[in-house]
Every structure is written in structure tokens, then in C-alpha cells.
């Protein structure tokens, strides 16, 4: 796992947070913000538990971030591969998923604990809502693209709605903090991951905080992989179309 913790201090830079190291080879967290003054603002900390080669650097290419970013249609329209292998799977396994997702990751808990009372916390991809309401002095709003998972959250009394993390229906600057916990790796292209990060930045206020965690493709500690179950033939038959590329043993249920 890798965590990226950013304070959207001035939201001015065209500064890159380059996490294109070996931990997450397909995720380049650059062009993070909306405005044009370089070398200001975003202070990022890569979690020291995963030493990385991450560096910050200015990007020479012009950009128009936020809602003005001119993405091709494929960026925000959900690709079929996500509908099939992410949305339908979570819809199908929601009760089991929820029953097994209760442990709160200490780094996330620490982040949430640090927020001031009265903070508005926006959880993009809230799953079964295990972080919603973490500290009672804050106001949590969660969204997820899986209606069965959102229903579970609502049943627990949380404020939730169904939406896509790539295209969140918030007005700008409403959040004191936004969290994206184990979500970005569900998005199938770098552009969609980038857009999802820009949405997190858009919806938090200046000076707000964004916490992102994603799974690393290459875990340094191989023992961490032991808790995951390799996809067996049964699931391959049920979830994978015969015309799909062959699945190898490195596909994991996570």
C-alpha cells in the first residue's frame, strides 16, 4: 500500500507530485492543481512506511485542470471493463465485502483523528462506510458507485449517495478533507485516475487535506500477499468472459 497525503495549501501550482516509482507504475500524480503559478502550494508526503523515489517537479506542459480539463470522452464515461470487473463484482459481493471490512487502517485513522471538530469530510468510494462517522465531531459524506454498498452505509445512518468518484456532484471548496481509500486502483486508465484525483482537489477548500491510499502492484513485504486469495477457476468461470485474455494466478481477490 502507498499513501499520499497532500495539503491543498494555495492550490496554485503547476507542480507535479510524481509517484511514478516502482510501487504504482501506472499512476502518475502530476498536474495536480488548477492554477498556473509554479512551485507553490502542494506539500506532499509519501508514507514513510513505503520508501519511495517520489519527487516533485514542475511540469512544462500547459494544462487546464479541474472541471475545465479537456479530456477525451473515454475519461469520464465508465469503460465496460470497470462495469464488468468492478461494479458488478462489488454489487454481487456487497454483503460479504461489508462483513469482512471493518478493520480501520491506522494511517487513515490517524489522519481522520487529526481533523478539527466541525470538519466536512468527503469520502470518495466509501464502500461499506467503515470510515464514515469515524470522529463524531466531523460531518462525513460518502459516495460510492455500488448501490448495494451505499445502501449498507445508509442503513447505518450515514450520509451517502451513489456517484462516480471520477465525476463527483459536489460544488467546489466544500470539504475540509477528502479521502480516497483503496479506490484509485479500481479505475482502469491513468486518465481516469488522474481525473479522480483532480476531483478530490476540486471539492476541498484551499488549505484542505486529501488522503489517498492505493494498492501497490509490487509489495515489498511478500508476506502481506498471504492474506489474499488467488482467484480460483470457479470465479474465473463466473466473472470472466471466455473471450477475455487468460487470467493468471496473479489475479487476486482484494
Amino acid at each position: 500500500m502507498i499513501q499520499i497525503f497532500s495539503r491543498i495549501a494555495a492550490r496554485t501550482p503547476r507542480q507535479a507530485i510524481s509517484a511514478s516509482n516502482h510501487h504504482i507504475p501506472t499512476l502518475h500524480l502530476s498536474e495536480f492543481s488548477r492554477c498556473n503559478q509554479p512551485h507553490q502550494g502542494i506539500h506532499n508526503t509519501i508514507n514513510p512506511m513505503t520508501p519511495s523515489n517520489a519527487t516533485s517537479e514542475a511540469q512544462p506542459a500547459p494544462l487546464a485542470g479541474g472541471s475545465n480539463h479537456n479530456y477525451p470522452p473515454s475519461v469520464q464515461a465508465t469503460p465496460d471493463i470497470e462495469k464488468k470487473y468492478v461494479h458488478r463484482v462489488y454489487d454481487a459481493i456487497a454483503p460479504h465485502f461489508s462483513a469482512t471490512r471493518f478493520a480501520k487502517w491506522p494511517k487513515v485513522a490517524g489522519f481522520l483523528d487529526s481533523l478539527k471538530p466541525g470538519s466536512v469530510v468527503l469520502d470518495a468510494g466509501c464502500g461499506n462506510g467503515k470510515y464514515l462517522g469515524f470522529n463524531p465531531g466531523c460531518f462525513y459524506v460518502g459516495c460510492d458507485i455500488s448501490p448495494p454498498l451505499v445502501e449498507i452505509c445508509a442503513g447505518r445512518g450515514h450520509e451517502v449517495f451513489v456517484a462516480d468518484a471520477v465525476n463527483m456532484p459536489y460544488r467546489e471548496n466544500v470539504g475540509d478533507a477528502a479521502i480516497s481509500i483503496a479506490v484509485l486502483h479500481h479505475l482502469s486508465t491513468e486518465e481516469r485516475r488522474r481525473k479522480a484525483i483532480e476531483e478530490l482537489v476540486r471539492v476541498v477548500k484551499r488549505g484542505g487535506l486529501v488522503l489517498i491510499t492505493v494498492w501497490a502492484v509490487e509489495q515489498e513485504d511478500k508476506s502481506l500477499l498471504n492474506k489474499w486469495t488467488p482467484l480460483c477457476d470457479k470465479y474465473n468461470e463466473e466473472w470472466v468472459d471466455p473471450s477475455s485474455p487468460p487470467c493468471e494466478a496473479n489475479l487476486l481477490v482484494c
Binding site: A77, V141, E151, A154, F161, N167
Partner: protein, 133 residues
């Protein structure tokens, strides 16, 4: 869905510039009392769009609950106000956190797109042809 959540939501349908505030249509609502937390309200106050909140409270059946203009902090957080029946802070607390919209819709002010609210959960998912390019 509480009215505080409504205050933060906007339509992101393609072609819409602001999409805010969403008109609230209420078919069924409920009241769930929670303890008033003045510190929480003090933190939330700067984030509110007051006009949107007044309109939402009215749509939920409470047209006279809130003043048309946002009260001054000195009035809201005056000594004893939190315990005084009918005080501005108690009415604000009631509007933000105790009124729940269980069934209804959120309607984009620009496009007219209606987002349903079922069992207290808005469905804000867009169709493929509504997504911004």
C-alpha cells in the same frame, strides 16, 4: 439525506456551468433528533450556502424555520442560545441535521435533470450521454 448534505451537492451534467443549488422535491421526510453541538455548527457555518438552505427547508415543509438572511454569529452563539427553545441556533441545527428527506428528487436548476432520492439515498450517477467531456 440531511439538508446539510443537500447544501453541498451540485449537478455535474454535461453543459451545466453551476448546477447549484439543486431544487429539492420532497415526497416523504422524517425528523430524527440529535444532540446540538455548537462547536460543530460554528465550523460548518462558513461553508453553508444560506439561500440554498432556506429553500431546502422550505421544500421540506419548513418555510418559516430559518431567517431569509444568515444570522450573525453573535446571535447564533450567544450565551444560552443553544438551550433556548426556538433560538436561531436551534433552528439551524434542526434544519441542517434533523430533517431527513427519505423520498423525493434533486433537480438540476440548469438542465432540469432529476436525480431520484430513494430510501434517503440520492442517486447522482449520470448516463453516458450526460457525462462531461
Amino acid at each position: 439525506m440531511r439538508l446539510l448534505t443537500h447544501n453541498f451537492l451540485a449537478s455535474n451534467v454535461r453543459g451545466v456551468s453551476t448546477g447549484y443549488p439543486l431544487a429539492l422535491e420532497v415526497a416523504k421526510s422524517s425528523i430524527k433528533e440529535v444532540e446540538l453541538n455548537a462547536d460543530f455548527l460554528r465550523g460548518i457555518l462558513p461553508k453553508l450556502d444560506w439561500r440554498a438552505l432556506v429553500a431546502a427547508a422550505s421544500a421540506a415543509g419548513f418555510p418559516d424555520l430559518l431567517a431569509a438572511e444568515q444570522p450573525q454569529e453573535a446571535e447564533l452563539f450567544a450565551d444560552g442560545a443553544a438551550d433556548a427553545e426556538g433560538s436561531a441556533i436551534r433552528r439551524l441545527h434542526h434544519a441542517l441535521l434533523e430533517i431527513h428527506v427519505d423520498e423525493g428528487a434533486l433537480v438540476c436548476p440548469d438542465s432540469g435533470r432529476s436525480f431520484p432520492i430513494l430510501k434517503g439515498v440520492p442517486n447522482m450517477l449520470l448516463h453516458e450521454d450526460e457525462v462531461r467531456h
